[in-house]
Symmetry: D2
């Protein structure tokens, strides 16, 4: 029984390699909001990931596709899942959504309740897994860079991040714990406890440094197997 | 060309009749929120519609199915469209949603932006029409029964109702203008300008009289062809 | 008893005249939010009122003072009542506040509940009347210029306007029903049912035309006795 | 210069003692919201403080007065400051407000902006100090008892607590850091990370244990000099 599991596990880890060997680059879609929309800009995180791969001579092995739209919440991703993801037959999908689900509660009264956030998130995963897509779920980064849990939405962001960690476990998908990475980084690198200007330009959207940091974490998640 | 259109039109109006003739009752789904969930209760509007049909000896010609879940907004309907509607192969679907999309802005910061309301609404219609379902869209009734446009959400309810009327025209589906019916009724029948107690018990959910009024309007919409 | 009331009433109406006769101009303070803050600008409503008085050769009879601060709600007025109004010993005060009390509910979750709006409003009036100030209360104008009650905040603005009308009656102070004037004007002069561009530049703040319209209505209220 | 300061300081610490010596009990007002309103109930924190004093035979030395009203925010305290506090000539006032200022943002769109929270808070202190009242400011306790900063309002509560600590320093008044005490307690005594049921019955209002805990902390603050 145990050895069978080993084999299955082996096959699972082999899947990307097989895809690569077939001379077909691994198609990776980044599915998200305005941060991901900006990710394909000149210094965006997806662009930087492409450059990192190029520097390692691996750029022909990956096809990185941005699928971010500003203002998107989890249910917006669900609405455009077929058109923007499934129809493109990706091998890997990063789901990186949640900032607006939390933020819009305060800024326009149109955020997403936690229980519905989970429901739509798991519906996304289910449809992707049915198509054998390798899914990597990301916790939402930050709304404000203060490092003492005193940004207005910290409580909600922490809660939604916990929910995503539970979703990852429950659905057996990989986790890229961006919020943890950001929070840990800011604990070390924000001595003046500023609201913005370290990894973000405006409390949410990323500076070049923020995009670089994100690119590294996403890359780790992508190639860790 | 014109005569072809006539034939198509004729066929369209005939569809329900054909369905009836085949001894198969017309399957009607009411797709909505808590008002529709309560609609199948002892005095609910769907129950009352059933009784109205029985009184006319037409109860064997219709199968009325409630598909309402409390707290639902337009995107919740979209999430459960396949399971709760499409898989049941209905002939007719009433879409009656919008109260929570507006209300939750104020009560929990989790309402629905107008543009997204329209997007999801039209996505619902598109999938139903692809299955040749006769779709009847309803404007949201009331949050508060004051008849001088001084209920807090009247502005938004009026706006979302206009959007639904436009959706009906643009997508060529039938309209059951519940908000107009309610507002007109309250203009005549709420002389003390009370917040609740005429058609609703709590500003939103229906009294027996409210359910009866709704049943009559829905019935008119259902059988008008 | 009745004649005593007549005398008192006569004295009340005479007060402004007496003030004028004493060669001391009537000191009028406009107490409000950003609309009033802009009111002292080159084309602001207070500036235009000054020009209207000048054209009639009455500018020496009135001293018009703007006391508007952007973002102010009714309780902000209460906090600065002593410093910005009472200490200046005005003869007349226009209270024009409520837009932010309603608007901020949706835009930042920091609006004012209706019951507290009334409480603070009446506290303002009470302190002004204790100093024999002639108080003129204004209903809040508009958030959006659509003329069919489909601007998101129309319900609340209508409700708060009703509360102010009741406050005027209950406290025996004059009413300048700005919302009614604006709504009536837009019913006639917004044929395309636009959201902005008639009396406001951005749904709230006034165009030159809006300032002119407001100046005329305020002037009517000021000199009607 | 330094010795003068010593004397002043000495006099300051002596004040309560003097008051007591004069056989007049120290009048202490608890100024706050529903938690304080419940504080005078059979097991409320003020009642428990009274019992603690009685057990020590000191009940004749203190007069404890509850002045809490449900739903109150900082500006509500300001509105009733004269009637409910200043006119009663207290020796000591605990200001314990902030829960609703934060909470109502999400629950009804009528919370208090941080900058205005500070403004009204300092206006309260200024008026009390002008009457030589010893002011003790309290940070807001909790909305939810989870101990990992994942309660929705934790970010805001942490922020408002920081603001109060700054207010205490800037205005030279005493601080009773209730939020810190609660958070520290829950870190030790909420092993299952429950939302409620430890110090609160409903995430906000206090259980008997919560009232007892609060009573002890308040008592420490009251008698520490």
């Amino acid at each position: 029984m145990k050895s069978l599991f080993k084999i299955v596990q082996f096959a699972f880890f082999l899947l990307p390699l097989i895809a690569m060997r077939a001379d077909k680059p691994l198609r990776v879609i980044f599915f998200g909001d305005s941060i991901t929309q900006a990710g394909v800009g000149p210094t965006g995180y997806i662009t930087q990931m492409g450059e990192m791969l190029k520097a390692k001579g691996q750029d022909s092995q990956y096809e990185l596709i941005g699928a971010g739209i500003g203002g998107n919440k989890v249910y917006d991703l669900y609405l455009r899942l077929e058109d923007d993801v499934l129809s493109k037959k990706p091998d890997v999908v990063f789901i990186y959504v949640g900032i607006n689900d939390v933020w819009h509660k305060a800024s326009s009264g149109t955020g997403t309740d936690a229980d519905k956030y989970v429901k739509f998130y798991e519906a996304l995963i289910k449809k992707m897994k049915a198509q054998n897509i390798r899914v990597i779920v990301c916790t939402p980064t930050v709304i404000g860079e203060r490092n003492d849990n005193s940004n207005s939405q910290d409580g909600d962001l922490n809660q939604y991040s916990k929910l995503i960690r539970e979703i990852a476990t429950r659905n057996n998908v990989e986790l890229c714990d961006l919020r943890k990475y950001f929070v840990d980084y800011l604990a070390q690198n924000n001595p003046e406890n500023k609201e913005k200007g370290i990894l973000t330009s405006d409390r949410v959207h990323l500076t070049d440094a923020g995009n670089k940091f994100l690119a590294e974490k996403m890359m780790d998640a992508l190639v860790k197997k």
